[in-house]
Amino acid sequence: MAAVSFMITMVLYFAGTVSFLVYVLRRSEALAKVSLGITAVGFLFHTLALVARMLSASSSVPPSFYEALSFFSWVMILVFLIVEFRHRIPVLGSFMVPLALISLVSAAALPETVPTLGPVFKTLWVHVTLSMLGTVGFTVAFVAGLMYLIQDRLLKSKRFNVLYSKLPALDFLDHLNLQSIVLGFPLLTLGIVTGAISAEFARGSYLNWNPEQTWALVTWMFYFIVLLGRLTVGWRAKRAAYLTVVGFACVILTLVGVVLKDHGALS
């Protein structure tokens, strides 16, 4: 059941991605609705898959990286659907849905037998959930930043093309960027704290400077500075957009660190 729903989800997200990408290039508003519909149905199947999996897994089994990634992409689509519902900017889907698909495909590409994200602890669920939610926040900030930079470039060079007409106003993107960081930052902070606590229980030390922890701390510092700069010396608009795009690289490296650690722990 979970596996089938998961496959259907993947197919639908793929269709949604293609449809959303075509939408960016074409002047067809109908296509936005189609893409949105496909994605929404995909989201339902995704929910079904996650629920089925949760029910089948016993509570003592900790989450695998595969589940974490799948959950990550689920939250991403959820956030997209909420933003779309409130602000009606389907072009966001052209950025978010592909990212969700990539995360889901990488989840599928990992061997399902990778058992755990580490030692068995109840706090681990909390740690994974919080970190993933924080990461989704930064992903949205990244997308908003990317869209900002594209629109900024188009306006500066006076290229009024299809993309220009679809992208929302600059100040909206800047606001979305700020909101996502403001939401993502405390979540990541809590994620790191709970991670450290479970590491203390597992290995007896809060911190052992493995790639995951290192990059997580770097990410945290980075976004801390970005937020601080924004609130104090006016790092907004274009600079904020640049910084969040760069910051996303740290996020990705952290995720890579997690994968490496898992495989390392296995062998």
Binding site: Q151, L155, G234, R236
Partner: protein, 461 residues
């Protein structure tokens, strides 16, 4: 029965003629009444705007109809002789007339393609005609269709979405930088016409704070009064710039009033909040080097014109799409008109009953194979005479009502009673529910003899 249009528009007549021909609203009713009193004119609607004066009408005969309506137009406007008028008039009939109305309603024939006023004007004209009962089955259907076509064009194409004036293009650009204009502040430097127009558009979009500066303080105070804004001393406006989200510049100065460093300072002061600068002056008043300042977006008159040009081109593209839609709708409407004609209805009725008769006779004769040739003929004769007697009254009524006001209603009834719009009797029962729209009453029908509806009879030179 033919739909025709006679009229002139901005495409065929100069404003001197149009303004003379325009019918004031107060006289529309009287004019319509007179129009329908002409011999052979059955229905009429008069569309009179500053860009066109057109009479749409249902007439018995095309040629005489054209004549009557030209007469009517010349009579309505005594200051114009028909020699002055005729060269500017265009006359269409049939699908050309219907297509013309659809295009007009959808604003494809307007001076500015995609403008939205014309649809309202057509609706008003239709209301007046309805109030004076000068329309019937055909005109009602055609005008209602025109209105729905216009709505379809508006929703399914982007024909009326894009800015096609320089001052409005400024608003469109502003909306790509600020999602909500109502909390933004506009600084108007100088009092060029275009800048004032743009400021007015921005205010209409919700901008609440307007600051105005001109070289002569008195002028700024006057303008501030007019726009509901605050005047700013010209010597101080650069310090005020940081507070302005949108700066509109249009002065007669021959040099750059605002340099890159001024803008940089303002942006810094604003904590990097984006700033939108529009320079509508020629020669330019803002140093083009401002383009290199981050978070400041400068557009000059050429940029705005480029935007307008692109939008116009896009509207034309959309207009092509809309034209195809109009084509489809005209076809459907003509199909409906055709169904109201008597002759094809009589022929179809004849064919339908013969078909039924033939099928039944064959069925019966197949079972009575012992009958002699003579008996067979008797059976066939019996069938024929029953069928003929049954439809006799229908045929006679149809023919006699051809010219009465109930003509189309009878035709419609006959078509429904005998399922004449169904392809064949064999699948009749399955198609019970295929219903055609119901047409109310009153209308007129021409002679049975069909006149070929030639396209354009006369085209204005």
């Amino acid at each position: 029965m033919h739909v025709i249009v006679v009229g002139l528009s901005h495409k065929t007549a100069p404003v001197e003629i149009r303004e003379k021909l325009a019918v004031p609203e107060s006289r529309l009713g009287e004019a319509l009444g007179r129009l329908c009193s002409y011999q052979g004119v059955k229905e009429g609607i008069l569309l009179s705007t500053c860009n066109r004066v057109e009479v749409y009408s249902v007439v018995e005969e095309v040629e005489s109809g054209y004549g009557r309506i030209q007469e009517f137009l010349a009579d309505t406007h005594l200051s114009l002789s028909s020699e002055q008028l005729t060269p500017h008039l265009y006359c269409h009939t049939g699908d050309r007339a219907v297509g013309h109305l659809f295009r007009v309603a959808a604003s494809l024939d307007s001076m500015i393609i995609g403008e939205s006023q014309i649809l309202g004007q057509l609706k008003d004209a239709f209301e007046v005609a309805l109030a004076h009962k000068t329309t019937g089955v055909i005109m009602n259907k055609v005008v209602k269709k025109a209105i729905s076509v216009a709505k379809r064009v508006r929703t399914e194409t982007k024909i009326s979405e894009m800015a096609v004036s320089v001052s409005y293009a400024a608003v469109e650009l502003a909306k790509k930088i600020f999602s909500n204009l109502s909390e933004k502040t506009v600084l108007l430097v100088g009092a060029g016409e275009m800048a004032k127009l743009a400021a007015r558009h921005l205010i209409a979009q919700g901008v609440q704070h307007v600051r105005i500066t001109t070289r002569t303080p008195q002028h700024a105070i006057e303008l501030a009064d007019r726009f509901g804004g605050t005047p700013v001393l010209f010597e101080q406006f650069k310090d005020e710039m940081a507070a302005a989200d949108i700066v509109l510049v249009s002065t007669g100065a021959a040099h750059y009033l605002i340099g890159a460093e001024d803008v940089q300072r303002a942006v810094d002061k604003r904590g990097n909040r984006p700033m939108f600068l529009i320079d509508i002056s020629v020669p330019r008043n803002i140093d083009p080097a401002v383009r290199h300042v981050d978070n400041a977006f400068l557009f000059d008159i050429d940029d705005l014109k480029l935007r307008v040009q692109q939008n116009r081109a896009e509207r034309l593209q959309e207009a092509e799409k809309a034209d195809r839609m109009v084509g489809e709708e005209v076809l459907a409407t003509m199909e409906w008109m055709k169904s109201l004609e008597v002759t094809p209805t009589i022929v179809a009725l004849r064919n339908r009953v013969d078909e039924i008769k033939q099928a039944e006779v064959e069925k019966v004769l197949g079972r009575l194979s012992h009958l002699s040739q003579q008996d067979r003929e008797v059976v066939e004769g019996l069938a024929s005479s029953i069928v003929n007697k049954l439809i006799h009254r229908t045929m006679v009524t149809l023919k006699s009502e051809v010219n009465s006001s109930n003509g189309p209603a009878f035709v419609e009834a006959a078509r429904r009673f005998f399922h004449l719009d169904k392809p064949s009797i064999n699948n009749q029962s399955e198609q019970e529910h295929v219903d055609r729209p119901q047409y109310v009453s009153a209308g007129h029908e021409t002679s049975e003899q069909e006149e070929p509806e030639s396209a354009v009879r006369k085209q204005a030179r």
